[in-house]
Symmetry: C2
Subunit: 161 residues, 2 copies
DNA sequence: GATTCCGTTCAGTACGGACTGAACGCAGTA
DNA sequence: TACTGCGTTCAGTCCGTACTGAACGGAATC
């Protein structure tokens, strides 16, 4: 178990943050622990310091490594895997945006455009009245304006982080 | 049940979006339905068009109204409550930021500052070595730099949406 | 080649929370 | 005052999923 109150509280905060974003809390805890550890830690050491199973640590470290949040390092004369945090969180956020959010935004914009065609079909088959169809089209336009606005964030994000 | 394919797909998308953000999917579905409805809908009508219970609609509409995402309107000669969407989603995001994200950011920044003091106590009580203490302090500083960066988003967000 | 020491995988459990159905409260109506 | 129609509340169920413990595989040591 971690003995420092200060460390514990940031580990807890990191866990809660992850949970809030839909990630396993253990993932946040692992990163928090490594973030405040001057030396790379073994999988077993992480497990016992956090009081969780080695299985959770194993899957958690895989996730974190796949995102470039931690790195696996060799400790000579030691067969265990050791992990250390990569402290550039801004870069992580930037990557998350580029690889996850941005593609999703682009895709949803395309789908929104295609949707108007579907709505027209619904209108022609009588599933929508003229009034409903017109209204939906107008609403879809306000949606794409919003999407445009969100996408204009991209360069700002890349610039600041 | 909703009869238009186009409408169904945006309702589904809204539901998934909410679920991904940690909100009940029904909340997104309700907003999606109202967003594409030219007339205000009764609680009962919402329930049957979405195929969910009136209880869910009741709690969902309360949530949405508390965020200013929908509005309750009176339909003369009709005892039922009716709801309509407020289509300015950008404003919703702005409010969510002001009322939820920003306070949280500010609080966490304060806590981070206080944490250094806790870490010092841990060091003095022997829970941390000097090396660990110094390292933690440096890491906390990189954290507050990140927080500063995130906070500099604020004016941009307010400006764009 | 046998053994020990790792890390991973997988089936099973536990838990949180969304959703439901029924009971309740409360207005309007007779 | 009884009754009906409406929305809310609450206990209970259901579902997704994070987490665990044990079994497995693989590499290094003897």
């Amino acid at each position: 178990m971690v003995d420092s109150r200060g460390r514990r509280s940031v580990i807890e905060a990191a866990g809660n943050l992850c949970r809030r974003v839909g990630l396993p809390r253990t993932v946040g805890q692992i990163y928090g622990l490594l973030f405040l550890s001057p030396r790379a830690l073994s999988l077993e050491s992480i497990a016992e310091q956090l009081g969780i199973s080695k299985a959770s640590v194993s899957t958690g470290t895989r996730q974190l490594a796949s995102w470039g949040a931690i790195r696996q390092v060799w400790v000579p004369g030691n067969r265990k895997d050791h992990f250390e945090a990569i402290p550039e969180i801004g870069g992580l956020i930037r990557n998350a945006y580029r690889q996850i959010l941005k593609p999703r935004l682009d895709a949803s914009q395309k789908r929104a455009a295609a949707l108007i065609e579907v709505l027209r079909q619904d209108y022609e088959t009588g599933a929508l009245t003229k009034e409903e169809f017109d209204f939906c089209c107008r609403r879809m336009h306000t949606l794409s304006r919003l999407q445009k606005g969100l996408q204009s964030f991209a360069p700002l994000l890349e610039q600041i982080l």
